[in-house]
């Protein structure tokens, strides 16, 4: 499974990627993180705010950097 961090590579995107890695470790989920930094690809996810977080074709968060525990919550409700 791949989890996508969507954003042009600003500070917020980096923080989101780091926190997501941490959340995945806590939850013992084996998934890889892919960073979507290309503008055209970002557009194809239909988000209006960066950074975005997507699992498969579901955008589960955008425009903010959730805390590690919030990401864990999001992941458990959408990954299962």
């Amino acid at each position: 499974m791949t989890i996508k961090v969507i954003g042009p590579g600003c500070m917020n995107c980096e923080t989101l990627a780091k926190r997501t890695t941490e959340a995945l470790q806590h939850l013992n989920i084996d998934a890889s993180i892919e960073k979507i930094t290309d503008i055209q690809k970002i557009a194809s996810y239909g988000i209006l705010r960066t950074p975005g977080l997507a699992v498969g074709n579901k955008v589960i968060s955008q425009g903010r950097v959730p805390t590690v525990s919030q990401i864990e919550e999001l992941l458990t409700s959408y990954v299962a």
Binding site: P8, Q40, S44, G46, L48, A54, V59, I60, S61
Partner: protein
């Protein structure tokens, strides 16, 4: 939730106590504790700094907190829905007003632009939003209110709105769609499902606290430096020093201020206190207003980002139209006051 309401109430009580006793506190610190001589330029500078820094930071914390909560009700997705199907002009007015309350950060300018255009919102209406969102923001308004008074803050907001509405309308009438990069119209989000966020009352309170941490945490340094420089000007620069450079009689000062303002960006929070001190030393309100609008509303980094989706002629038109609007506002206020 109860605990949160408790701490918010406590915070407001402390806030009110501190805010309304700032004059008294500053007096005691400057004259009783440090026993500084009245009338010396150093005392004037120190007094200005000790009084203005906590005042502006207190105001900023309060407003950013409230705006943070309000913004949980206005997501860009909702704004886009509200703008869909609106006609020119009505759409421009609505877009400019929504630009004030919709959360916006220049790093999201591109996805937002794409999302608006893709859903069929006219180019001009999108521009009204893109002009108003960064130009009219809570940080600028708080600084204007705290350092200049509510009249100037209101003036800034209303002229900013008018510029956003008219510039967007004008850009719309010019029909510049061909200067949007071609791929913008062909990219579509296919098969993507976007999960909506649901806010509980506790989430909204949290959003307010997060906004304070994020925004106040980012700008407090600039404000501190800005007020320190402003305090120096306040104490040491002679009266009317600025009259010849940024005064009414210098007709070229308005366009020069606008040009100078474009490359200055991240320092908006620091520039307002400096400009306030300059106003005291004879700079004219119109010139100062034009300078601030240009610093905050026209930013080089954002233009560079927008170049990825807009062709150069459209970017230049955008800068030209907004810049002209700001210059007109500058002259208008120099004429009135």
């Amino acid at each position: 939730m109860k605990k949160k309401i408790g701490s918010v109430t406590l915070f407001f009580a402390g806030w009110l106590l501190l805010y309304f006793n700032l004059g008294y506190l500053t007096d005691s610190i400057v004259y009783s504790i440090f026993q500084l001589a009245k009338d010396s330029p150093l005392t004037a500078a120190i007094y200005f700094f000790i009084y203005e820094v906590p005042k502006v930071l207190l105001l900023l914390t309060l407003i950013v907190f409230v705006v943070g909560i309000i913004r949980t009700y206005f997501s860009p997705e909702r704004t886009r829905k509200m703008l869909g199907g609106k006609r020119q002009f009505t759409g421009n007015v609505l877009a400019a007003m929504l630009g004030i309350v919709t959360p916006f950060c220049s790093c999201s300018a591109i996805p937002l632009f794409l999302g608006f255009i893709e859903s069929g919102i006219p180019l001009g209406v999108t521009f009204s939003f893109l002009i108003s969102a960064p130009m009219i923001n809570e940080v600028a308004l708080v600084l204007l209110f705290g350092l200049f008074g509510w009249e100037t803050a209101l003036l800034y907001m209303s002229t900013g709105l008018i510029i956003a509405i008219l510039s967007g309308y004008f850009i719309g009438r010019l029909q510049l769609e061909r200067y949007v990069e071609d791929w913008v119209y062909t990219t579509k989000a296919v098969g993507i499902e976007i999960m909506e966020e649901h806010f509980t009352p506790a989430d909204r309170l949290n959003a307010g606290v997060e906004a304070v941490k994020d925004i106040v945490g980012k700008v407090w340094m600039y404000i501190l430096i800005g007020i320190a420089v402003g305090a120096g000007i306040h104490g040491y620069v002679p009266e009317n020093f600025m009259a010849s450079i940024m005064g009414k009689s210098a007709w070229w000062s308005v366009p020069i201020s606008v040009l100078l303002g474009i490359p200055m960006y991240s320092n908006a929070a620091g520039i307002i206190p400096i400009v306030q001190a300059l106003l005291e030393k004879g700079a004219s309100l119109g010139t100062v207003l034009a300078f601030m609008m240009s610093v905050i509303g026209l930013s080089l980094p954002e233009l560079i980002i927008l170049r990825k989706v807009l062709k150069l002629p459209l970017i230049l038109t955008f800068v030209g139209v907004v810049g002209t609007g700001i210059i007109i506002v500058g002259y208008l206020f120099n004429f009135i006051y």
